[in-house]
């Protein structure tokens, strides 16, 4: 009986903590990251797996890599107007989808693309369509989305997720549609069409048919599935400015961007993957004196210990191209990045990497592969 007050005090603490967790973000696992401790590169990279020089001639000149996907042995590279396909093995040109225009089966804007079962799905925000092509560029199907969307992720031929960035009249950020544009699920309601987007990768990872998604200025990763939209992980970084969840939900993105554009702050989660108890994430941060930087985080979800690495802060001679190239995609644990031919030639010469010193600075970009250590 003498222990009763102590027991009831502990019980009330447990009840209070459970209630506050439920009120805020139930089941969200916080990951504390100290941005002042730069980890050794070996925490993140286990090997340099070579590079591929994309074949260059007039037919397949790549303007600027806006998105890259690697499926099997094919590298799909999108610039402003086309998707060009190259071989993963030797960089040889395989074909392209170049249907930029206003005619039937053409798109005015190449807003995003995805690949499923060797078919390419091109999302056009202005046309309000998803056009499905085969690898030869024949139109297989046109899906009228009705509204403009900024990103897509194809789960299978019957399920496509679309993201609107608070910027259409559907009033939901995530919409799952079928082949006839029939809406199967919708999540994350918003109140006003902002007609404003910050270029970003919203669909930042996947586990079977569940997607990991994140939105600009939000440090939380959500899981997105037909059955639900649930917050999973929160990155707590000791940056000078923190955008709170309240501010995020109450302030239009354009206003947030005006406030934090050039201030040290968290920006976005570009990629996330979990392997047993280790979580790997690629994030974008605006850092004082460095501007926008790719920042890697590796966290042990059992011990709570995390490592942080600012890409390009310095060049580590063990893996120089890891710091010198831009991350553009993933293939499992292989990180894919790219350099312009100009940079590849310059750095190849300096760090004596393969035959990079011999390429022409006017060639197509060079794709670089590193295996991650997690």
């Amino acid at each position: 009986m003498r222990k009763f007050p102590y027991f009831s005090f502990v019980l009330s603490l447990v009840v209070i903590s459970c209630v506050s967790q439920t009120k805020n973000e139930p089941n969200v696992q916080g990951i504390s990251v100290d941005i002042n401790k730069q980890a050794d590169i070996s925490e993140f990279v286990s090997s340099f797996d070579g590079y591929v020089c994309l074949e260059t001639y007039e037919e397949c000149l790549v303007n600027e890599i806006r998105k890259l996907k690697m499926v099997g042995d094919t590298i799909y590279v999108a610039d402003d107007t086309k998707i060009t396909m190259f071989s993963r093995r030797d960089g040889s040109y395989l074909g392209k989808i170049h249907k930029h225009g206003r005619g039937p089966g053409e798109y005015i804007t190449l807003t995003d693309f995805d690949v499923f079962d060797s078919r390419l799905y091109v999302l056009s925000n202005v046309d309000r369509e998803i056009i499905m092509y085969n690898a030869s560029g024949d139109v297989l199907r046109i899906i009228n989305t009705g509204e403009g969307f900024s990103n897509l992720s194809v789960i299978d031929e019957d399920n496509i997720w679309l993201y609107s960035s608070d910027s259409n009249d559907s009033m939901y950020n995530f919409i799952l549609i079928g082949p006839d544009a029939d809406v199967k699920a919708k999540y994350d309601k918003f109140s006003k069409n902002q007609s404003y987007t910050i270029e970003d990768i919203t669909f930042c990872g996947s586990v079977s048919d569940t997607l990991y998604v994140s939105q600009y200025y939000d440090n939380i990763v959500y899981s997105l599935h037909y059955d639900g939209y649930v917050p999973l992980y929160r990155f707590d970084m000791n940056l000078r400015n923190t955008v709170s969840q309240e501010e995020l939900s109450a302030t239009p993105l354009s206003e947030l961007h005006k406030t934090y554009k050039y201030k040290e702050s968290f920006r976005s989660i570009m990629h996330i993957d979990r392997n047993r108890h280790t979580l790997f994430a690629e994030t974008w941060c605006f850092l004082d004196g460095l501007a926008l930087k790719t920042c890697f985080v590796k966290a042990d979800m059992v011990t709570g210990k995390s490592h942080f690495y600012i890409c390009g802060y310095d060049v580590d001679e063990r893996f120089p191209l890891f710091d010198l190239s831009d991350v553009i995609g993933y293939d499992g644990k292989v990180l894919i990045s790219y350099l312009t031919a100009f940079s590849a030639k310059k750095h190849g010469k300096k760090y004596k990497i393969g035959n990079l010193a011999d390429i022409s600075e006017y060639d197509n970009p060079v794709i670089v592969f590193h295996t991650l250590n997690y």
């Binding site: 925000n125 202005v126 902002q194 007609s195 501007a291 390009g312 010198l324």
Partner: protein, 122 residues
């Protein structure tokens, strides 16, 4: 006879100045009409919020290639010194796309940074 010529010259002078006055007034009136039409048009736009608000604004980043030690003056941030070879990335490029419902002014990357004050190794 001399009086007649003086009178005639006076009449010609009067007629010429009258015609000039009418012509100039007409010109002024047409300029005024044009100005007032413009003012009306501007006023109409202002009063009805008639700015072209049919755009979707897309913000994206700009990248500047740098060598170690290079300094770049970036508007809104100040001078950044590159610690290593690579790129400095900043926010600020704006692309205006049709079929939106906001106004938009495009911004090019070259508008965002101005002077490379100090060249490092190139």
């Amino acid at each position: 006879m001399r009086k007649f010529f003086v009178l005639l010259a006076g009449m010609v002078l009067f007629l010429a100045s009258s015609l000039t006055f009418i012509y100039v007034k007409g010109e002024n009136d047409s300029v005024n009409d044009l100005l007032s039409a413009n003012v009306d048009a501007l006023a109409d736009n202002e009063s009805s919020g008639g700015l072209d608000a049919n755009y979707h604004r897309i913000d994206s980043k700009c990248e500047v290639f740098v060598s170690a030690g290079m300094q770049i003056d970036i508007f809104g941030i100040g001078i950044i010194t590159a610690k290593a070879d690579g790129k400095i990335a900043i926010d600020g490029k704006v692309v205006c796309q049709s079929k939106g419902n906001e106004t938009c002014r495009p911004v090019e990357c070259s508008d965002l940074y101005s002077v490379i004050l100090h060249g490092g190794e190139r």
